[in-house]
């Protein structure tokens, strides 16, 4: 199993009221001197290998549905080796939390 990540962000020139609200809240908490823009991250689990064709498919999915290219940009990238390789003891970058769900097979889980 491989994973492809699609990041979607509002274009720089598009107003981002959510980001502004988050920036304001952080300022009230003492996190000053920063500006937040809020986007979306899609984690796409792919059955089998990520071939160039598969990646092109996902790119098309991103431009068709995941992002509205009138107001958003998107970025598609392959995340390497996911299944069973997460080392619980390994430190994560910059002290962030380990992202949950790496061992869950969303492709085959029951949907309601």
């Amino acid at each position: 199993m491989a994973r492809v990540v699609v990041d979607v962000m509002p274009k720089p020139e598009i107003l981002d009221p959510q980001g502004k609200a988050v920036t304001g809240a952080l300022g009230r908490l003492g996190f000053s001197g920063i500006a937040v823009r809020q986007g979306k991250r899609f984690e796409i689990e792919v059955d089998g290998e990520v071939t160039p064709e598969r990646l092109a498919d996902i790119d098309r999915a991103a431009s068709t549905l995941l992002a509205n290219t009138v107001i958003e940009t998107y970025d598609v990238r392959v995340e390497t080796d996911v299944a069973g390789t997460v080392d619980a003891d390994a430190p994560t970058a910059l002290g962030g939390t380990d992202h949950p769900g790496h061992t869950i097979d969303h492709l085959n889980e029951e949907t309601v």
Binding site: L15, P17, K20, A21, L65, N68, V70, I71
Partner: protein, 226 residues
Amino acid sequence: MTARVGVVTFPGSLDDSDALRAIRLSGAEALPLWHGSDSLDGVDAVVLPGGFSYGDYLRCGAIARFAPVMDEVVRAAGAGMPVLGICNGFQILCEAHLLPGALIRNDVRTFVCRDQGLRVESDRTAWSSRLDVGQEITIVLKNGEGGFVADADTLERLEGEGRVVFRYTGGNPNGSMNDIAGIANERGNVVGMMPHPEHNVDALTGPSLDGRPIFASVLDFLATRV
């Protein structure tokens, strides 16, 4: 023959019943249409109503835009059928690229619900011929994501081609560029607007009856076309 105007119900549509009622009051036959259908049941015009289709998941209108019925709506709109998108329906029309631009979260960061002043900017659409350019009307506005945005070229084209149909007056409620409340496609058969004319058709429930001419307009349009 009585005109037949359909209203599409998506999962999460809220104002489909009001739209159907407004159409009946205008004298047309109102037909409920279902998002999962691949037929428009032979209607003469279509209204995409307000609400929160598919829970506004992903983006407002983004998932509804790919509902089976939308293939037919896009095809019919291309053939000249009048289509009116109200609020969430406007968002769906933009997502479907039947109208340019997009609707983003209100700059005021709150849901806005008010009796909104509008100025009519075009009477050359299927949905505004009964109104006069410059006329001031009051229509209910209620949305969280009603800020119309488009790039500079698109805005210039909309303005230059007289495709801005309604403009907010008395203050911009949501950050819409150029105070735009409603626009039309080049042909004028497809109109999207954030305010809700279907709520302004009965003195019991609205401060004006200014929504009525919008539904009457499309009947005129259909009558002259047949």
